[in-house]
């Protein structure tokens, strides 16, 4: 049964491909796999209470409106429950699987395999983000897994760490707030920091603690460090902006806000504002609007036949790193306000889907 579906789907795709090659028309051709009215866009993410996720959703909705598919846009929230993320995907695929596109922010790397397997079995289309998926690649027989849009967390770690070290003039002690330790970004971003520290012997790592990506958890830890190390702390490195902002408030309570450099990752609006005020040194944005929309754009291109079937794409186009931006005081104003759809429209065009790819991932 399962093989049949895959088989017929593959046959259909091969047919479409053949037609696409013979046809000179750049627009949708008659044998596109799905009618536009059938296409369903699904953004699957953790929740929509945090700014990053809010922007993911906004990006997805922005694209749906731009593509005239807003009524077919579905948001799935798992509230941090990996099991639920998979279950939700499987439930919606009871109908119309073959015209459904998933843009997935995986709750944890463990959901990757079940989700892409589900796509394979049901014929749904999927684009995944973020995590390092060891031994799992779209080009290894996953025809429906359009692409994996990864973020090079180690580079991100290096980028913010460089800014931090520079702000400290290359000397002094720093404290480190980790994210959830079992996640790939937490480990890789820290690896980036360690790489930078190796080059700057003047900077010492005083202490490190996990604060679970959480602002409220970061606050008392920072307070305790201030009690223990006092002014030996010359910099604060946080694995995300939320924790950086929690540490910043602890610094504020000690009258040190703006005097001790703080860096974070994610580029959430509050952090950008803090960077603009000079209370944070830098943050890195992977652009949630883009991440929330690019997978859907890829899917629509494939489903309407405007792009060839994914299995014909090169490996670099199916698994690549996303370009990220480092936000510092210099460019903070530029990222302070919400972007418009027009800014992204060129990057959603079917021939320009890889404009932010920086090279093959993994």
């Amino acid at each position: 049964m399962r093989h049949e579906i895959v088989g017929t789907a593959a046959a259909a795709v091969r047919l479409a491909l053949a037609l696409a090659l013979t046809s000179a028309l750049p627009v949708a051709h008659a044998d596109a796999p799905c009618e536009k009215s059938q296409i369903r866009l699904v953004n699957s993410m953790r929740e929509i209470a945090q700014p990053y996720h809010v922007n993911l959703n906004k990006g997805g909705r922005m694209f749906a409106r731009w593509a005239g598919l807003e009524d077919q846009y579905v948001l799935q929230l798992n509230q941090g429950d990996s099991d639920k993320q998979v279950a939700l995907m499987r439930s919606i695929l009871a109908t119309n699987a073959k015209c459904t596109i998933f843009n997935v922010e995986p709750n944890a790397d463990v959901v990757m395999k079940p989700m892409v397997d589900t796509a394979k079995a049901t014929g749904a289309w999927i684009v995944t983000h973020w995590v390092y998926n060891r031994g799992l690649h779209p080009f290894d027989g996953y025809d429906r897994w359009i692409a994996h849009v990864a973020v090079n967390s180690q580079d991100v770690g290096v980028a913010v760490s460089d800014r931090l070290v520079a702000a400290m003039d290359g000397k002094g002690g720093i404290v480190v707030l980790h994210g959830r330790l079992d996640t790939d970004p937490a480990q890789k971003r820290f690896a980036g920091l360690k790489a930078v520290l190796a080059k700057h012997s003047g900077v010492t790592l005083l202490a490190q603690q996990p604060a679970n990506w959480d602002r409220t958890a970061a606050f008392p830890i920072m307070q305790a460090w201030l009690a223990k190390y006092g002014d030996r702390i010359r910099g604060v490195w946080a694995a995300n902006d939320d924790m950086a902002l929690g540490a910043l408030e602890a610094l504020r309570a000690a009258g040190l806000a703006g005097r001790v450099p703080v860096v974070g990752v994610d580029g959430i609006p509050e952090a950008i504002a803090a960077v603009a005020r000079g209370e944070m040194t830098a943050t890195v944005s992977s652009d949630a609007f883009y991440q929330g929309s690019i997978g859907l754009a890829m899917g629509v291109c494939v489903l309407t036949g405007q792009a060839p079937a994914p299995q014909t794409w090169s490996k670099q186009r199916r698994e690549f790193f996303l370009r990220v931006v480092v936000i510092t005081k210099d460019n903070a104003a530029q990222y302070a306000k919400e972007p418009e759809a027009d800014a992204y429209a060129p990057e959603w065009r079917c021939d320009n889907l890889w404009s932010r790819a920086t090279g093959p991932a993994f």
Partner: protein, 333 residues
């Protein structure tokens, strides 16, 4: 006919010494832990760090005071996280903020507490009217409150821009953190309510022998609802305190607080079955956890194993503090 005065061999009362030890077990654990950390790290036992510990214990203490009332009456409140989220958002939206044109100033505190009280009231009504066990009733109510918080949060969390409230959240008075002072007042109120009001006394009665309470004609349901509402008020207040400290209304503001609060109350000597225990004990429990968390940061254990070490310390501390209470007929659930 002659008869004698006999309690039966199983109800031989504990001696006074044992009774006294029983009450001081949690305190002993707290002391042992503090001394242990002080020996392990010389910077631990400083005034500056004491301030940090008191500050970090402030919000959990306010929560634990309320939770003590709920657990003592034999119920439980799992809605802490959701309710804190909703109250935090409300607080941030009604004081000077970057989103709404409302500015209630200090009245934001009672507003947040009132919302908590309303949710607590709803908890109590679901438990008493629908007769849903509090475990599930509050679990459901927590989800509802979380949803409400998400609606209020919308796209961007509201940032608090009232400098006075921020200063209250972050600053100190007489060398003590403002929030710790606020929590201490809550503790005093809690002690007073526990000792001098029907709400407090009936909590013991309802938790210890609900059947007797009903048979004595107490309006058990009313006081149960009141217990939940009181806890709700304090949850609202705690949410406002945490928001004032962090400077925003935050859906995740209560993360981890539910389990932490219940743990503090339980290691403070209030059994989950209810009927005994005191706010004082819960305060000791809160301080124990605060010292533990703070001490872990000081020791700087490897982050990987931190959770394991913390769990092991809690276990050992509780075992040591309770070892003398062991009895062949003691029932512990």
């Amino acid at each position: 006919m002659e008869s004698r005065h006999r309690p039966g061999i199983l109800s031989v009362a504990p001696t006074a010494v044992r009774g006294a030890l029983r009450a001081s077990g949690p305190l002993l654990a707290l002391l042992a832990l503090t001394i242990g950390f002080a020996l392990a790290d010389s910077d631990f036992a400083t005034i500056a760090n004491l301030r940090v510990i008191l500050d970090s214990a402030a919000v959990p203490l306010v929560l634990a005071v309320g939770m003590t009332f709920v657990i003592r009456q034999g119920s439980i409140d799992l809605s802490v996280e959701g309710m804190m989220a909703a109250c935090s958002l409300l607080f941030a939206c009604v004081v000077a903020n970057d989103r709404m044109q409302v500015n209630l100033g200090w009245f934001g505190l009672p507003a947040a507490a009132a919302l908590g009280g309303v949710f607590g009231l709803a908890n109590g009504l679901v438990v008493t009217r629908l007769r849903v066990p509090s475990f599930m009733a509050t679990l459901g109510m927590g989800a509802i409150a979380l949803g409400a918080a998400m609606l209020m949060s919308g796209d961007q969390p509201p940032l608090i821009q009232d400098p006075v409230l921020r200063q209250w959240g972050l600053g100190q008075t007489f060398g003590l953190p403002n929030l710790a002072l606020a929590a201490a007042s809550c503790l005093v109120v809690g002690l007073f309510v526990e000792q001098y009001t029907r709400l407090g006394r009936y909590g013991y009665v309802i938790g210890g022998a609900e059947g007797v309470a009903r048979a004595s004609g107490l309006d058990v349901d009313f006081y149960k609802v009141l217990g939940f509402a009181f806890a709700g008020l304090l949850i609202g207040l705690a949410a406002a305190m945490e928001s004032a400290r962090l400077g925003l209304g935050h859906v995740g503001i209560g993360e981890g607080k539910m389990l932490g609060t219940i743990t503090a109350v339980v290691i403070g000597g209030t059994p989950l079955s209810g009927g005994s225990g005191s706010v004082r004990g819960s305060a000791v429990g809160v301080l124990t956890l605060a010292v533990l968390a703070n001490g872990m940061v000081f020791i700087g254990a490897t982050p990987d194993l931190e959770k394991a070490i913390q769990g092991a310390i809690v276990l050992v501390a509780v075992v040591v503090a309770n070892w003398h209470l062991r009895d062949r007929l003691r029932i512990v659930k």
